[in-house]
């Protein structure tokens, strides 16, 4: 469904953020992208929807190659890729509803969107999604009145209303407390399962990733260092990705935390 071929990104400063990354994500697969800060995780997912222009290589979304598209065609393809951000990236001064509906901008003309006259079907879908994430009552609140977890739910709705085939998720839990982090991760994974969406989730919290995803890719210095199921993340592998550290505690903690996780659910 998504295929990256020899994707390279070299920033103008000379930093090589991605060194020839090859990877394939089948339909409906949720994968976690882990790795130290500066390993190129953010760059990788931004190269897919070209918020960052890749230097070379190819990105295939289905049968379409994205890196050579013109502005109009790129916009049409971006509609198929929902994105969720670390700091939620909601437009703070717009209402929750406006934020959710902004996910439909790619489908609606300028003047209609400017006048906020979205098709009724879009509005219905927005209400359905807000109901699904438990924020129906908040529809008319301004985005900056919400808590972090609520904002991220709105961010999820905005991505899903695009009706995407793929979710690009950049550190969804980095600004959230541990409990909310799990709820958000669970919500994302559930929604992906419901809709058969593929997702690439950048995440720092290895234990959290292991809990929810079926595949983990470890990135180090812009190259794939590990690709496998979460159970294969041994201290050895983590050392290869992150460098020397006592990993037994991290992995041990996963087992310990499993019990309270059930309670939260």
């Amino acid at each position: 469904m998504l295929r990256l071929e020899k994707l390279v990104k070299t920033y103008r400063t000379g930093d090589q953020a991605l060194k020839s990354v090859d990877m394939e994500v089948p339909k409906g697969q949720v994968l976690a992208l882990i790795g130290p800060s500066g390993a190129g995780k953010s760059t990788l997912i931004r190269c897919i929807n070209r918020l960052v222009e890749p230097s070379s290589g190819k990105v295939w979304l289905g049968d379409t190659e994205l890196t050579h598209l013109g502005a109009g065609a790129l916009r049409r393809e971006r509609r198929r890729m929902g994105m969720i951000f670390q700091e939620y990236a909601l437009v703070e001064r717009l209402t929750v509803m406006e934020n959710v509906l902004s996910g439909r901008l790619g489908y609606v003309g300028f003047w209609r969107s400017f006048a906020r006259r979205f098709p009724q079907s879009d509005v219905d879908e927005a209400f359905r999604l807000l109901d699904r994430v438990g924020l129906l009552a908040m529809a008319d609140k301004r985005a900056d009145e919400l808590s972090g977890g609520q904002r991220q739910r709105v961010g999820i709705c905005r991505a899903l209303i695009q009706n995407p085939a793929l979710l690009l998720v950049d550190e969804p839990t980095a600004s959230l407390d541990p409990k909310t982090s799990r709820q958000i991760m669970r919500l994302i994974c559930e929604l992906c399962a419901e809709r058969g969406l593929a997702a690439i989730i950048n995440i720092h919290d290895v234990a959290l990733a292991q809990m929810f995803v079926s595949r983990v890719i470890g990135l180090r210095f812009g190259a794939i260092e590990f690709d496998g199921p979460p159970t294969a993340l041994t201290p050895d592998v983590l050392t290869r990705i992150y460098g020397e550290e006592d990993w037994q505690a991290t992995i041990q903690k996963v087992d310990d935390e499993d019990a309270p996780a059930e309670v939260v659910a």
């Binding site: 971006r78 951000f85 909601l90 437009v91 703070e92 001064r93 717009l94 695009q162």
Partner: protein, 272 residues
């Protein structure tokens, strides 16, 4: 190097080293010396007789100016209304022109940093650097005296001010919100309407009322050069030494400025 070791081997911290302290002391000495020298020069070229005489003259004018000639107010209603209109229409016109200039000048929205941005910055600098009285003089020469020249003078003078503050606001927006809107597949104009405009709206409103407030003061003097408004009556009264009328005009201007301050304070607190 403020941390030094003394003879006993203890580490001592001082704010400045001895050299730095000396340097600063000489700096202050030099400053005071220059001040005293300037004071002398100014004193030498001042005709002190006029200065000593000033309180008496001022007192004389004050007695002549009081009480204000209240009946003259009937002739001021129209000019003060004109003045308000010059300020308001001038500000609106300025904003209409300043918004595109600001978007062209802001580093993150300009279509070309090399060609378009310098032109936009030139517009900002050139309109800002010339006082509205001088703009009025120029425009009167071109389109003749009257309110229209005043409106244009205020508008042109305000473009640079509004565009500068607005483009700084545009440059300070949160880029991830813009990214998020672009990622949905929105067009360039939609990104502007959804990602940028909501973020700069409070700044825009604040700048507008602030400039309107300034423009009310500026438009009160435009009449001095014949560009309409209450300044015309002011210069007429000054030239005929009609002090009671001058004092009434000053009271009216003061009142208009207070009202505009009050309105802009209200608007600003309502937005922020």
């Amino acid at each position: 190097m403020p941390v030094v070791e003394n003879a006993a081997g203890n580490r001592v911290w001082m704010r400045r080293t001895t050299g730095q302290s000396m340097l600063r002391w000489f700096g202050w000495l030099l400053g005071v010396a220059v001040f005293v020298w300037c004071w002398n020069r100014i004193s030498d070229s001042t005709t002190w007789f006029f200065v000593w005489d000033a309180p008496r003259i001022a007192g004389d004018i004050l007695t002549r100016a009081t009480p204000p000639r209240w009946s003259y107010i009937d002739e001021l209603w129209l000019p003060i209304w004109d003045t308000l209109n010059i300020a308001t229409l001038g500000t609106i016109l300025a904003l209409i022109m300043a918004v595109p200039v600001a978007f062209l000048a802001a580093r993150n929205t300009t279509p070309s940093a090399r060609f378009v941005r310098p032109i936009a910055l030139l517009i900002i600098v050139s309109t800002r650097s010339i006082n509205s009285l001088i703009w009025a003089l120029l425009l009167i020469a071109i389109i003749g005296p009257g309110i229209f020249a005043g409106i244009l003078a205020i508008a042109i003078r305000s473009i640079g001010f509004c565009a500068k503050l607005l483009y700084e606001a545009i440059e300070e927006i949160d880029h991830t919100q813009v990214e998020a809107i672009s990622a949905t597949g929105a067009s360039r104009w939609q990104v502007m309407a959804y990602g940028i405009v909501p973020q700069i709206l409070p700044a825009f409103a604040g700048i507008s009322v602030f400039r309107w407030d300034i423009n009310i003061r500026e438009s009160t003097v435009l009449g001095l050069v014949g560009a309409g408004g209450i300044g015309l009556q002011l210069s007429g009264s000054l030239n005929t030494l009609a002090w009671p009328q001058v004092s009434l005009i000053l009271i009216v201007i003061l009142f208009a400025v207070i009202v505009s301050e009050w309105v802009s304070a209200k608007v600003r607190s309502a937005i922020i």
